[in-house]
Structures are given as C-alpha cells and as structure tokens.
Symmetry: D2
Subunit: 283 residues, 4 copies
C-alpha cells in the first residue's frame, strides 16, 4: 500500500484489492500458483499478475472484478478483525484534529484489530513511528499480520503491557486511547505526551464520556472537545437521488484535549465550537 504506487501493473507480492459487484471488496497478496476464491468464482493469481491497475478481470463464472491498489479507507473497512474497530469516518476526523502526519511519533492503546494502528502507520510515513500498547499479545498478532500485508509493519512497535504501568515513551506528538476506561490513565497520558500534544479517545456511552471529562479537567488538559461524526450515504441513481434507507447511528463519541502546563481558570472550557470559525491567520 506504500511503495507500490509507481508500477502500472500488479506484480507478485503486491497487496491488491479486487472489487466485485455490490462494492464487495477482497484483499489478497499476489503469489504465483495461488488461486483467489469467492462464491462468485475463482481467478488464478497468475492471471492477475501483470494486469494493469483498473482492469476488469473475470472469474471462471464470468463475474467481473476490478483490480485496484488498496486505499486506506477500503482496507480499514474490510480489515480482518476480532474486535470492534474504529470507522474511517471517526479516524479521518481524529487525524485532522490531532494533526497526525509524516514524521510524527504517535502512541496508541489498545491495539485491537489494528485499524487505527494501520491509519497512523500509513500517515506517519517512513520517518514516523507508531507505538501500540495492548494487554494481550495474542490480540496484537492479528494486528501485526494486517500491518504486514500492507507493508506497514516496520513503522509499528507493539508492546504487550497494561497501560496502568505507564508508557515508556516521553514527548510523543499524540496519544489515542481506544480502551473502555481511558479515565483511569489520564496521568500516564500526561507523562508521555509532549506539552501541547493531543490526547484523543473514543467511547460508546455517555457515562464513560462524563467520567473522562471530569478527569481531564482535573489534570491540566485544555481545549477539550467532544463530538460525534455521522455519515449519511446517498443512492447514486441521479434520476432518483435520495439518502439510503438506513444508516449507522452510533459508533462512539470522540474526545480530544491538549496537554498544557497549568490550567488557567480564566480560560473557560466547554464552549460551543460552532461559533469559533471567525479568527484568521494574522501577521
């Protein structure tokens, strides 16, 4: 997913996406002699190797599949998982708020199936680093395999340890906790995060959010923000254009905050953010 963009054709070892009817995605690593199998028919890897990206291949049953280089969003949606994973809509917004990008050092806990790990690893690039904590080593195995297929594993360090023992790292750019009880680890976050660095978390229930907000407010975090990202899809028939019938109504509440040295009570927190788009880059 990283270094392969420059070839016009799929080559052996590539991690490729085969997109079939109804937007069904299949992700495979091309190996000579192997066979891609679905209930819509089979295609030999040898018939895929050498084909141009964007080509339409057909299974022995005649069903079409487009050959694509995987994009981050598609990969994440289709990730092999043993836990609930973060949705692209939530990851995308978190990345913007926390300013994740090339060259950064980012911490996360827990690893889970590695969706957020993949996104962070993809975006920090070759000069960045992701350190991912999880209590269970066996959980991290799957995440590691997912990363390896995408060629992103060299950018990630896994640590199988409980966050309550603290992080080894200091001065990291951002920390994201995808845990049930992030409110128990606010001090550990504080110690590892660089001043001004971003803390992020996602929680399903309001009770958890309330607990976290209270802890953040008592631990020198400022500019706390809580939001939800809702994604509404539309049918693409331009003569009968309308939203889809159903939608995902809830994945989680996103919480962000910035670590500061000393909380100044004159700066009131908790204001509506909607009003704050007025200021511009001055000087």
């Amino acid at each position: 997913m990283t270094g392969q963009q420059k070839s016009e054709v799929a080559i052996e070892g590539n991690f490729v996406q085969l997109l079939g009817s109804g937007y069904k995605s299949h992700f495979i690593q091309l190996r000579k002699g192997e066979v891609f199998q679905t209930h819509r028919g089979v295609i030999a890897h040898d018939d895929i190797i050498g084909k141009k990206w964007g080509s339409c291949l057909h299974s022995h049953q005649g069903n079409p599949f487009y050959l694509m280089q995987p994009a981050l969003g598609d990969v994440l949606k289709n990730l092999k998982r043993n836990t609930q994973i973060m949705y692209p809509k939530d990851i995308g917004y978190a990345i913007m708020v926390m300013g994740i990008g090339p060259g950064q050092t980012v911490l996360e806990a827990g690893t889970g199936s590695g969706a957020l790990t993949c996104a962070f690893a993809f975006l920090v690039g070759d000069n960045g680093k992701v350190i991912s904590y999880d209590r269970k080593a066996e959980i991290q195995d799957l995440a590691g395999k997912n990363l390896a297929k995408m060629g992103l594993n060299a950018r990630v360090i896994f640590k199988s340890r409980d966050v309550s023992e603290g992080f080894d790292e200091r001065n990291v750019d951002a920390i994201f906790l995808d845990l049930q009880n992030p409110y128990d680890y606010v001090e550990q976050v504080k110690t590892a995060l660089k001043p001004g660095g971003f803390f992020g978390s996602i929680l399903p229930t309001m009770n958890q959010v309330a607990l976290l907000l209270e802890k953040l407010n008592h631990a020198n975090f400022a500019f706390i923000e809580v939001c939800e990202v809702l994604l509404r899809f539309y049918k693409t028939d331009w003569e009968r254009f309308r939203p889809t019938d159903r939608m995902v109504a809830h994945t989680g509440f996103l919480i962000f905050a910035r670590s500061v040295f000393e909380l100044d009570q004159k700066i009131e927190v908790g204001d509506d953010n909607i009003e704050n788009n007025e200021e511009t880059i001055s000087n």
Copy 2:
C-alpha cells in the same frame, strides 16, 4: 508545522498557535521585535520565543494564552480566506476514502484559499507533490501565503489555468475538484488519473450532484459513492452533558469514484454502502 516538532521551546521563525479564552485561536510567525496584538491585550514575540510548548502566557491585560504547535485541523479552521473553504470533517473523510498519504502525487482544482491544498501538502510529506489549478492567479496568492507560513509551500506547484484545457500531469494518485461544475471536466480527470485512482469532489446542491453522477457513469468511473459528513458537538460539562444547541447542517455532498478501464454493467452501482462491512482481508 512540519519540521519544528522536535524542539521543546518555540524559536524564532516558528509558526505558532496562541489559544485564548473561548477556544479563540491566533496563528503567528515569531519574529524578534514584533508584537502580537488582540483585543485581549498584547504580548511581545520576544516574550514568546524560548517558552516551552504548552506554556500559559499572559497579555499585558492579564489574559491567558496557551502557546501551541499548530495542528492541521486548527490551522484549517482558522485559515485566512477569500472563499468558502472545506471543513476538516469533510477533508478528513476524503483523505481516508481516497487514501491520501506520504509520497503521493495529488491534483486539485480550484485552489481557493488553500485549505485542501494545505491538508494534502501536509499529508503527502517531503516525497509527495500537490499540483493545484485555479483560473485566477490572484486567488492562488493567498493560498501560497498560507502554505508558506506553515512551511508547506515547497510541496505545492500552482498552475493558473482553467481546467477545461486539461491537466499537464498523467498517472496521478488522486484528483479532487472543488469547483462549481466538476461535471464539465470528467474527461480531463480521466486522462490525468492513474487507473484505479480516486476522484473526489464536493458540491453544495443536489442538482449539481445529479449532473456529476450522470457524467461519471458514462465515463468509466466505478464504485461511485455520495455521502455527507455531519459533525455534532457536545457541551463538555460532565454534570450537564448534552449536545450543543446549534450545528452546521450542511457544507456539501462528497462524491467519490474510481477510474477503471471499462465499465462492466454486471457490477451494479448505487447500492447501500451500509451493508458492506462484512468482507475481511483474506489469503
């Protein structure tokens, strides 16, 4: 915003964020002898230089400001603008779907105030490239200044030209059109985009979306997706936790599609995407 993360203190030349009460952000470039001025008082740049990130500074009136390294989302929200700009919520989701990341070559038109340009430039890193088209050179001046302050200008090539004349580039990873009439340039996109590459656009009205969908369907684009991203903020008072009273209800419809060699009619488009989270990475 790019190479400065490693210093613990603000140094001359840094592009810094001063966060005041009510989440008001101010962005300045530090220069000895200059003065930061707001209606909440003034602070000399000399009093900022050398301070640790995350420190709380005070204006001569005693009002507090936190010294921060700017994060992408904050910068974009506060960008100096002469046109409507894309919101972080929309940019974040577009980046995920289109898989924008380090090392890529990305095209956009029009430049506008450069919000999307900044995001793309930040994310493609030192080895990537952004080419930004706009009919009006004077519009691009502001975008250029915005990029320069963030130290991102070396990654961007501006071209002051109408898209109807076509793009100079070929085989680019992704193209985003933030124009009123993207439906008029579908062929130009097709020519410049790599097979399997992502096209994206944002449009305010459904009439425009319908026109674009029709064109995309007749020009060998597949896996077309239309959606809206809605962002709902919450008050951060944990004893009175609730959504804010008002929200931004509409910024635009996002449209994404992938270029393919030949559209196979057996692959029906326009299905609900909500159902498609089942498949996993196999092999």
Copy 3:
C-alpha cells in the same frame, strides 16, 4: 381506540394491544371463545376480557404480555400494510404544521394502507371528516378494515378515483398527497383547498421534490417549506446510556405550502426557517 377509554377493564369488542418481550406489539379485537396465538404461546380471549388495563397476562408457556389500550403511534407502526406507510415521526410533524385537529375536514390521496387516514380520522374527532382518494378500490379495502378495528371508519369517506379528475370537495382545511407525482395535481389541490389552507406531501427523492417546488411556485402557493424529520433512539440502560447502533436514515422529504390568492413577489420564499423564531404573539 376512541370511545373505550373510560372503562377500567377490557370488554368484548375492544381493540386491544398486547405488548410482549422486546416491545413486540399484537393488536386484536376481543371476541368470546377466540384465542390469541403467537410463537410465545396462546391466551384465550376469555382470559383477557375483564382484566384491568395495564395488567400482565401470561401465555400458556408462561411468557408475559401487557394488556393495553392502543395509542395512535403504536397502532400506526404495527398497521397491516400492503404499501409503504408514513412513519409516526413524519405524521406527527405534518399534523403540527398543518394544524390538523377536532372538527376539521381533511382530504388525502392516495389512501395506501391507511396510516395517515387513521391519524387524520383519530384527530378530527366525531365532528370532523376525512375524505380519502385512491385509484384502486382494492387498496382501500385494507385501509377500511384497519379503520374499522379502531372504530374510526365512520369518520372516513373513501373515493376510488384518480386525482387527475379533480376532487369533489371545496374549501377543505388541508390536503395531503402521498402519491408519486403530486406535482401533476397542484391545480386540483388549489381548487379544493380553502384559501390559506395547508397543502402537504411526502416524497422519497430530491428529483420529485424539485418538480413539486417548481409547480407550487407557479400556482399561488406561498410559505413553502421542505424538511426531513430524523428520529434517533437511545438504549435505555442508564449506566451505559448511548444511541442505538442503527437508525432509519430516510423515509421522505416533507413539503408544506399554503394556498394564497395571489403570489406577491416581494415576499421572498425559500429562506432559512431556523432564524424565524423571534416573533411573538402581539396585541
């Protein structure tokens, strides 16, 4: 559903609701000697007759069912149907905007399964009247049966006729068109509606809405309003309070307008309604 509220116990002939586990509703008319059957067991009607409203009955398998007097919303959600029906969320808002209440004369087309017919008939009371048009008499049979069970049929007149031939009525208080092509019948509505009366409609696609808006603007309708009603449910566990995972994302766009004698171009239509809550009852 109408005259039965005064008895404390269920009596023969009553239209009753049996609410079982997981909010499953069953609606039956009590008749001596009959048996209520579900996959959770059976209960003899004789064992229901004479029981107090709010009692918990048990099937022969020991499964609990609450005995309730049906409320409008529950009845509508569970209506026997042969077509898509309007949701309570949409009916409730339409009733408020159009000011439907006791003593009014209301027209509708088409009848469909009679959900809206039931709501109108329930609300106009004994002194009101609902006239319901539908091309197909056989469709109206089911609606008639639904109304009869609720004791509302005396308030409704069915007419099996295409709306293109016009309505027989004049000076009615409100007209609602639940048809695919309401834009073809704007003149017929105009003729039957009292001046200042309310027109309402629901349409699934934006293309239909655009057609209707154009026609309404050319036919002396003013104060046109288009909106969507979205309903978000929450899990009721107070220690893990959160929205449900999925929701209905789209049922239809609601369109309302008022008939006036002469459209004055100085009154601009199409403004944001959100701003208009300032004015108060004066004098």
Copy 4:
C-alpha cells in the same frame, strides 16, 4: 383557532395570522379601530376585517402580508414566552406516541409559557380536558393569555401548586412533565395515571435522562423509550436544492413510558426500537 374555520372572511374577534416577508408571522386579535404595527408599516384592523382568508394585504409602505387562519405549528413557534418552550417537532412526536386526541384528559407540569398546553388543548377538543400544574401562578398568567387568544382557555384548568404534593386527578389518559427534575415525581405520576397510560417528559441533559430512567425502572413503568427528534430544513430553490446551512442540533431528549401493574422481568426493556416494525394488526 377552533370554531372560526367555517367563515370565508376574517371577522371581528378572530385570532389571525399575518405572514410577511421571510416567513415572519404576526398574530393579532381583530378589533375595530385598532392598528397593526410593524417596522414594515401599518395596517388598520378595519382594513383586515371582511377580507378573505389567503388575501394579500399591503401596509401603508406597500409591504405585503398574507391574511391566514393560524395553524397550531405556527402559533406555537411564535408564542409569547417567558421560558424555553417545546418545539413543534417534539410536540408532534409526543402526541403520536402518547396517542393524544379528542375527548381525553391530559395532565401536564409545568405550564411554562403554555406551548404544550395549547397543543394538548387544541387536540383534546371540546370534550377533552387539560389540567396544567405549575408552582408559579404568575407564570401561568401568560399561558392563560396565550390560550385565551386562541379560544382554547375553556379546555384548560390551571393549578398553581408544586407537583411534590401530588396531583388531584386519577385515571388520566396521559401525563407530561416538562420539569427539571421529573425523576422526583415518578410516584405522583404513577398515582394519577390510568393503568396502561402514557408518561412523557423532555430533558436537555443526559445526566437527567439517566436519573429518570433509573426511577422509571423501579416504579412499574414498562416500554420505556428515549429518543431525539431532529428537523432538517431545505432551501426551496428547486434549481439549487440543498439543506440549509445551520440547524437546531438539540432541544431535548424525549422519554416515554407506560404505567403497568407489575413489572415482569422477563420483558426486557431497552431494546433497539428500530427492529420492531414487523408485527401487523392480526385477527
């Protein structure tokens, strides 16, 4: 608003709506010799009396105003208020769920500015009754005046008393609490409500909702439901059809429950309601 629908023209004493540009509504009671005044000019009541509903009148400055019979939704939106009032979107849904209609006896507390009181009074008709409690008699004065103008006051009994002392009534069809602490009055509700009757409430914060849910679950209430109603308006320009830029994001959480004799633990509460539209009227 109630008995006046049958006249084709406005007559003295009528409560009328004057709809001006930008949907601005003005509500007045017609009295000979008086003058309607706005910043868009004046119109003598004598020039309104005798005019047909739906006519376009002009102020002395030439600004147009449509003469309308007020509809419930418009009246409520424009109610003279001294407190936050319930929105039509929330009232409309509450009415559907609680099955409010002609002939019923409905209790509410507190009265506030009387928006919900008006809606209930309008819908229960001449044979129904609304009893409205509020601690402060002076608050109820405004509500009384609002009701009188609409001709609905004979249907409402005001009681200036704290709900903690209990309700005088028994066996009422429905009770709605629009109070800060409805969780303190669950027993009082239980005593006054008929078995199977509906309880409803609206609360701004999740902390309040959690408290209420706990109390309801311990007081023989079943079929508890929590939801939010969101209303999204669209611009009515059919060539540039799109949602409005901003919307009301939060008014309150609606909570509904039904009183039962004895809570059967085999009936699990708190399930997703979205799944429950399958059952139909049987028998």
